[in-house]
């Protein structure tokens, strides 16, 4: 799609009407391209890569939507955004209508419009994608959400109080979504956050160049305007126990994320210059260590190897590049086909000169005088598919080689953080330490719901938001005394 030229199209519109063109003509409109910062320029700054569609490009793109009778895109969305509805309103030029429609379905559209893996969700099932390119739903969502953000007057009126109170533990995507949905229903919501600032992975993890922090702050301010109270520096399991909160609130939603970084368990991993992606990104994003006058330090590696192939790995490697690495390398044990990151991130990384060492696995971090000097690796063959359906990597005998590097970032996943879960008696966990929930999202403790990574293991922002939205509906029913008997677990929508 990148080779296509956006055609010069203008439609003569009657106000409030869609363009008077036939479906056949509609089918000839090519997918619009996202304007972006030039790759060489952006590899040296932290400003957002994607610049957003212009009004004209958005209106043209909106005309590509066929307004299907059976809109499969909605079922492809973990929070069931009514996609054709907001696109139709956009195409008719009704920005306020489009914004209200979108915000009604999605508490954080500025975020999801930027970080969702649309190509494996809504856009994957879009009919236009069967022959050509899917409607750029993510671009349009971002366009409408950003408009809504700039035109906030009159929106977000705090609703009448229900008299019920709900504690939300964790202010990441699951927690914020649940908080928003619950506040809209008039419940008094308090969000407890362990860090000094709210946003969870949206502020400590995802870098500025992909999701500007001002946007996250705006989204949180919108929730506060709805009456959501945020208490920072509150670690549940330490500052307060779960039992104390259960006494104070009518219900609660646990969305603390997965949290603990997984290391590779190879020799040399405690050398200076080896970071978990969590630490590296937190220093840079939350603590602002990318700014030269920052009080928080971060190492500026010249040759940086990032182990992993997901979005977090892409964020880390592109961050290292922006902090001056002459060589920034992704080290991933499977092939390009299996890279779990959003395609756009992989593509952007390639444009920014990131080197990909694929089918390669680290065996040792080597060092001198306490500092990393390289990473010894082995090449991998891909064998038969494993339980995950992906081909299992098998080391190639005698293929060992060393990548020279002065910094290593480990981005191979996270595991459950036990600070909260082990301090709550009666909270049922699975064998990996994640919280077990029923189909309504309720844990083994009545009135205590859970969602996001602490239930699923590391997943995506939008899946966490889906959990938050579903749990909010269930909590709403629970505090009204109307939650039906525990529903059997539904098959969660899983990321590819």
């Amino acid at each position: 799609m990148d080779d296509q030229q956006a055609p010069e199209l203008t439609f003569e519109h009657e106000p409030g009407e869609r363009a008077p063109i036939t479906p056949k003509e509609r089918m000839t409109i090519l997918r619009q391209l996202m304007p972006e910062q030039d790759a060489d320029t952006r590899a040296t700054n932290f400003e957002e890569v994607n610049l957003g569609l212009t009004q004209r490009l958005a209106m043209i793109e909106a005309e590509r939507c066929l307004q299907c009778k059976n809109p499969v895109c909605i079922t492809g969305c973990p929070v069931q955004v009514n996609i054709p509805r907001f696109i139709d309103l956009l195409a008719r030029g009704d920005m306020r209508g489009a914004a209200d429609s979108l915000l009604d379905d999605n508490a954080l559209p500025c975020v999801t419009g930027r970080v969702c893996p649309q190509e494996s969700q809504c856009e994957a099932v879009c009919l236009r994608g069967k022959k050509g390119d899917a409607v750029a739903i993510g671009y349009l969502e971002r366009f409408v959400a950003d408009w809504a953000n700039r035109h906030r007057d009159g929106a977000s009126v705090a609703p009448a109080s229900s008299g019920k109170s709900v504690a939300v533990i964790g202010s990441g995507p699951a927690g914020l979504t649940a908080a928003g949905e619950l506040a809209k229903r008039g419940h008094a919501v308090t969000v407890f956050e362990a860090f000094h600032a709210a946003g969870g992975v949206l502020i400590y993890g995802i870098p500025e160049f992909r999701l500007p922090k001002d946007i996250v702050k705006d989204e949180i301010e919108r929730l506060e305007a709805l009456g959501v109270r945020i208490e920072p520096n509150a670690i549940i399991g330490k500052t307060y126990t779960l039992d104390e909160l259960r006494e104070q609130f009518d219900a609660m939603f646990i969305a603390v994320g997965a949290g603990l970084p997984v290391f590779m368990d190879v020799p040399g991993e405690n050398l200076k210059g080896v970071y978990s992606a969590n630490e590296y990104l937190t220093r840079v994003n939350l603590m602002g260590a990318y700014r030269p006058d920052s009080d928080t330090p971060v190492l500026h590696g010249q040759r940086v190897a990032v182990v992993g192939g997901g979005n977090v790995a892409m964020d880390a490697v592109r961050t290292a590049r922006r902090l001056g690495a002459s060589e920034a390398i992704i080290v991933y044990r499977r092939s390009d086909q299996e890279l779990p990151a959003r395609r756009e991130e992989v593509h952007h990384a390639q444009q920014e000169g990131i080197r990909f060492e694929l089918q390669v696995a680290p065996v040792e971090v080597v060092g001198d005088d306490g500092w990393v000097t390289g990473m010894r690796c082995v090449r991998m063959d891909l064998g038969e598919p494993d339980e995950s359906g992906r081909r299992r990597p098998v080391p190639v005998p005698g293929s060992e080689f060393t990548i020279d590097c002065d910094m290593v970032v480990v981005a191979i996943g996270t595991r459950s953080n036990p600070v909260l879960t082990t301090s709550a008696a009666g909270l049922k966990l699975n064998q990996w330490g994640y919280i077990e929930v029923d189909g309504a999202g309720m844990t083994s403790l009545p009135g205590v719901f859970a969602g996001g990574d602490i239930v699923r293991g590391a997943a995506t922002v939008i899946l966490a938001m889906g959990d938050g939205k579903r749990a909010a509906a269930a909590i709403d029913a629970y505090v009204a005394g109307a939650l039906p008997e525990a529903t059997p677990p539904t098959e969660p929508v899983t990321a590819p």
Binding site: A194, F195, H196, P232, N233, A234, I235, K238, T239, Y240, G259, L260, P261, F263, E269, N270, K272, Y275, S276, N278, E279, T282, R283, M287, G288, D293, S294, D295, T296, P297, L299, G370, N417, P418, V419
Partner: protein, 285 residues
């Protein structure tokens, strides 16, 4: 916001702050710490809770100025506020309940030893505290520790108390009497020396580690230390560990990660202060 209600200079570079933090004052246990962020934009740093007054809703933080972040913190006066305090974090000290314990404190580590000595004393354990400093003016918390039992003060230059290092005094104490546990907190070389001294007699020895940390809840992994060949997170698995199992060489090495950065930050900060102090040229000089 956490207003500062008391401030005392304990030694040339150690300051005691009493800070409002009612919830933490109420529930903290000996050995626990907080993560502190002095102001918007400041670094997050871990500090042991040296003492607490649940009635007044205050906690005591004892801070050694070693870099820009700690200097910014101790520059705050009574009436000013600390932006963020999160906690109490880490596990509580496992205190023995009877017998005889030796508490060894070096430098600002003495502040970490204080709540341990107090806890042991309350439990009825016979406590000997050994603290040290370069010279008399560097000795801190003498009065508070005297209240917990026997106190041996050492100074490197012999200007006060017993001349020499705390480890030499410890050697004498364990040679003279049966000791059931040793708690040691201070610079890494001191803790390592204590560990080596108690190892032959297999005296259970606990050290409190203060590695580099960001969140304090297990999420960054920056505070990892090797204990008995296993990687542990000081923030959630500690901060206290069996001294005989800790890889002190690795700990010391990891603590030096940002030495260059810290030096530069300090110089920048001092330059800025100097520039502010220098009178503006009026053109008449």
């Amino acid at each position: 916001m956490h207003p500062i209600v008391g401030k005392t200079q304990l030694s040339p570079n150690v300051t005691r702050l009493e800070v409002e933090a009612p919830r933490i004052a109420q529930i903290r246990l000996a050995g626990q710490f907080v993560i502190v962020r002095a102001a918007e934009g400041s670094e997050r740093i871990p500090l042991t809770i040296a003492d607490a007054n649940p009635e007044h809703g205050t906690i005591t933080l004892i801070i050694q100025s070693v870099g820009k972040t700690t200097e910014d913190l101790v520059a705050l006066d009574v009436g000013a506020s600390i932006r963020d305090i999160a906690g109490p974090l880490g596990s509580a000290t496992e205190l023995i309940e009877q017998g005889r314990a030796v508490c060894v404190g070096g430098g600002v580590g003495t502040a970490v030893i204080l709540p341990i000595a107090q806890g042991l004393h309350r439990a009825g354990v016979e406590v000997t505290s050994i603290i040290g400093g370069r010279s008399r003016e560097w000795v801190i918390l003498e009065e508070e520790l005297s209240a917990c039992g026997e106190l041996i003060v050492c100074t490197d230059d012999g200007s006060y108390g017993r001349p020499g290092f705390v480890t030499q005094a410890l050697a004498d104490v364990i040679a003279q009497a049966d000791v059931d546990a040793v708690y040691a907190v201070g610079p890494v070389p001191m803790m390592r020396a204590v560990a080596e001294m108690t190892r032959p007699a297999a005296i259970p020895t606990v050290v409190s580690l203060n590695p580099i940390m960001v969140d304090g809840t297990g999420m960054c992994g920056g505070c990892r230390v090797s204990v008995g060949g296993k990687t542990m997170y000081a923030c959630v698995d500690g901060p206290e560990f069996d001294a005989h199992a800790v890889d002190f060489a690795e700990l010391a090495d990891r603590l030096s990660t940002y030495r260059d950065f810290e030096q530069r930050a300090l110089e920048r900060s001092h330059c800025a202060v100097d520039a502010a102090k220098t009178p503006q040229s009026t053109g008449t000089a």
